[in-house]
Structure formats: structure tokens, C-alpha cells
Amino acid sequence: MFLFLALIDSPAEQEKFVEIYHQYRHFMWYLANQKLQDEHLAEDAVQEAFLALTRHLDKVEDVHSPRTKKFLATIVRSKAVDILRKLKPGEELSEYLSEDQNGVDILEQYLKKENYNYLISCILELDDQYRVIFEYKYLYQMSDAQIADILGISAKNVNVRYYRARKKLQEMIRKESDRFEEA
């Protein structure tokens, strides 16, 4: 019942949404365009991002805070990734084929202060499709169901992407540290 009431539109939420739209639409377009290199596709990504935002306005406390800006950046980047995946259906298929359970997840072992600089460079290089999953999960503390709702995929697929992202990051940190040791 309370959840039901929470979903009902309030004027304050509408006002918040309009404010976000006017304040950040160009910023969001710029990010999407960086990724897509296409003005119109970037507009589509912004539009999709705002649609997703209507369902997650509760995550925005202060419209003008840097955290809100980052949250919007994550949403629009994930929407841009979505559009890119749709443009390359082959890649999309391979993503959904299996859960890819090969290999061991030992990322936690690599997440140490000594590896901070490797981590920074790895995250900066990490593909956005994986990075946004980390951001949703760790920065905004969103559940698999919430992430699934934003990305328009199933919660199970969120989990698949999450584990792939962990493995990918683990692999990148290992390679980075090996390269450093070789040098």
C-alpha cells in the first residue's frame, strides 16, 4: 500500500523532474554524443534516460548536487551503451547467451589500497557497459531489480553483467600489475 502511494505522482516530483530536465539536458546530450558520435542517437539516449529517471526520481535528493549530476551521467551512459548494443546485435547476443561461469572470481583480492592507481586506470579503461553496472550497484546502492528496470533487462541479466564486469576488472588489474612488474 505504501509502495503504491509512493508511486503516485506528486507536484514536487514533477517540479524536480522539470528542473533536472532544464538543468542537465545539454550535459546529458554531450555525454551521450561522446559515446555515440551521432547527434540524433544522442538525443534518443537522453530521452530514454529521462524516461528511466521518472521511475527513479527518489534517488535524486538535491537537484543541484554533484551526486545528482553523476547519477544522470551514469543513466545516460548506460542508455548510450544500450543504443550501441542494439546497433550491433551480434555482440548483444553473445552477452545474453550464457552466464559465463568459467574462471574464478577473485576480484576482492585485488581490491587493495596498494592497487589504487591500477584500479583508477582500469576503471577508466573499462567498457562502459560494465562500468555503469558497478556505478549503479556501488555508487547508488541500487538492487539488481532496480538496475534491471533502468536498463530494460532482466535482473538475471544484470547479475550476469555484474559478474562479467568483476571478471573483466580482475583481469585488467592483473594485466596492469604484470605490466608494471615487467617494467
Binding site: M1, L3, F4, L7, I8, D9, S10, P11, A12, Q14, E15, K16, F17, V18, E19, Y21, H22, Q23, Y24, R25, H26, F27, W29, Y30, L31, N33, E39, H40, E43, V46, Q47, F50, L51, T54, R55, K59, E61, V63, R67, K69, K70, F71, A73, T74, E108, L111, K112, K113, Y116, L119, I120, I123, L124, R131, F134, E135, Y138, L139, Y140, Q141
Partner: protein, 279 residues
């Protein structure tokens, strides 16, 4: 947004790294105004977003509600709620504790009234905000007005100026003229929708507009000024209230023009007086 509650040390480190990387990425993004200069949204996008802003948001929400709740659960929840309310009422009426409790409550309420005779005025319908989720509202002219999200709005910007320059001329169809002047070096975009706000005791409150018209961004060339007519019959206004302001959306900025009806009226009457004496 909630902060990390049950993360391992490694994951906390990952959070820091993700924050830092996002900060770094975003530090290369130019300011909104600059991006607005290089990109103008297509009409298709504007139409779609206007639709979303005006109507689709509600429609979208309805769809969400339908998706998450089947009517069967809604009915069930409503039945449980009615049952609980009835139960509580019956318990209160029949319970022997009720009379004692009610008497104590009445007494304490009376004491509070005696101790604080000058509490909120009649017109106030809601208490000021006490938590993050609450909205501060007041009752004004038989309607609820919401505390404006931005209280501090500049009256002057270096590239644009606004001024209310006409009194209430006709009580039957009152209107104001808002002059917007572009004093900057570039053309500006302004929205043909203006927020009328009234100062009530502790802040600016937005008066709802009854007009249902499509908002549009208009262009104003450099060095030009434009008079925009504001039809006050679209609002329910108490003309005796002291202070009002019109908020204009100019690009990414807001600019306010404060006025009072008496003040504007007096200014114009003085001007008319000067003109007639000059003749």
C-alpha cells in the same frame, strides 16, 4: 541516495575509485551553456520531451503502477485498510481506556493552546518542512501554493534584464506586461512560461497557473527587448498581498522581477501625472 552500508573494505575502495573516475570524466565536460551553444535539440526531441513533461509522466506512472500492482492486490489492500480503520474506530469507542486517554489529550491540547496563543495563522494549512520528503505548502486564495524550489533568484544578470512595467488595468481581465531585454552580446533563449510567486511570511510560494498552453523557447536578439503579456486571470491572486515576483527562464538561468500591485500602479499613475503636466 543512500550511502554504502554493507560493503566490504575492497568494495568501499571500489566506490572511491568509481567516484574519482567519474569526477575525472565529468571534469572534461564543458558547462551547460557552452554545450547549448553547439547543439540545438531537434524539434522531434523537444516535442517528445514536452509530451513527457506535460502529460506522459503521469501516464507513464500509471503504466508503472499497473505493471507492479494487479487490481486484485489493490482491492485486497483497500479491504485491509478499511478493515483496520473500522477496527481502530470500534476499539477506540468501546475501549474503557479511551475515555481517560481522550480526556488527557483534550486537557493537554487546551494547555498547549493556552501556552501558545499566537500559533499559525488561519490561512496556513501545513507546517514547515521537517523532513527531506515533505513539501512546504501554504493555503493562499483558496488554493495550495508550494514553496518555490529556488528561493534566491537574482534580479539582474549581466546579459538580460526583466521588468514589470504595467499596472493592473482592468479588474475583469487583469494583465501585466513583463519587459525582457537582452543586454548581452549574444542572442538569448527564454521560455514563454513565467512562474508567478508570492511572498508569504517566510518564503516565495509558486501560484499555480490555470493556463494549459504549450511552453516554447523563444529567441531574443542582442540589444532587443520584448514585452510579454501576463494574463493574471490565469492565476488566483489576492491583490492585497504585498510582494510578488515573476520568474523568467533564460537559457540555464532564472531571473526574477519583483513587484507589488500597489507599487506598480502608483509608479504608472505618477508617470501619467508627469505626462499630463508636461502637456
Amino acid at each position: 541516495m543512500k550511502k554504502h552500508e554493507t560493503l566490504s573494505k575492497g568494495e568501499e575502495l571500489l566506490v572511491d575509485v568509481l567516484e574519482e573516475c567519474l569526477d575525472e570524466d565529468l571534469s572534461f565536460i564543458p558547462p551547460e551553456r557552452e554545450i547549448a551553444r553547439i547543439h540545438r535539440f531537434s524539434q522531434r526531441f523537444e516535442d517528445a520531451m514536452n509530451g513527457l513533461l506535460e502529460t506522459n509522466m503521469e501516464h507513464h506512472r500509471e503504466q508503472e503502477i499497473r505493471r507492479h500492482f494487479s487490481p486484485r492486490y489493490g482491492h485486497l489492500a483497500a479491504c485491509v485498510l478499511v478493515f483496520c480503520i473500522c477496527g481502530a474506530l470500534i476499539y477506540q469507542v468501546t475501549s474503557p481506556v479511551f475515555e481517560k486517554g481522550a480526556m488527557e489529550e483534550i486537557e493537554s491540547a487546551a494547555m498547549t493552546e493556552e501556552a501558545a496563543p499566537e500559533t499559525a495563522p488561519e490561512e496556513e494549512s501545513a507546517e514547515p518542512e521537517s523532513g527531506a520528503g515533505q513539501i512546504q505548502t501554504k493555503s493562499y486564495c483558496g488554493q495550495t501554493v508550494i514553496l518555490a524550489s529556488q528561493q534566491e533568484v537574482p534580479e539582474t544578470l549581466d546579459y538580460v534584464t526583466t521588468l514589470v512595467n504595467c499596472p493592473v488595468q482592468d479588474e475583469e481581465k487583469p494583465s501585466l506586461y513583463l519587459t525582457i531585454g537582452n543586454i548581452g552580446e549574444n542572442e538569448i533563449q527564454y521560455l514563454n512560461h513565467y512562474d508567478l510567486e508570492v511572498w508569504i511570511e517566510d518564503g516565495w510560494y509558486r501560484i499555480p497557473c490555470n493556463k494549459d498552453e504549450k511552453d516554447e523557447w523563444l529567441t531574443l536578439e542582442t540589444g532587443m527587448a520584448v514585452d510579454e503579456k501576463i494574463d493574471l486571470s490565469d492565476y488566483q491572486i489576492d491583490y492585497d498581498e504585498e510582494q510578488y515576483r515573476l520568474i523568467t527562464y533564460v537559457g540555464e538561468d532564472l531571473i526574477s522581477a519583483e513587484f507589488t500591485f500597489e507599487e506598480v500602479f502608483a509608479e504608472t499613475m505618477e508617470k501619467l501625472g508627469d505626462e499630463s503636466s508636461g502637456e
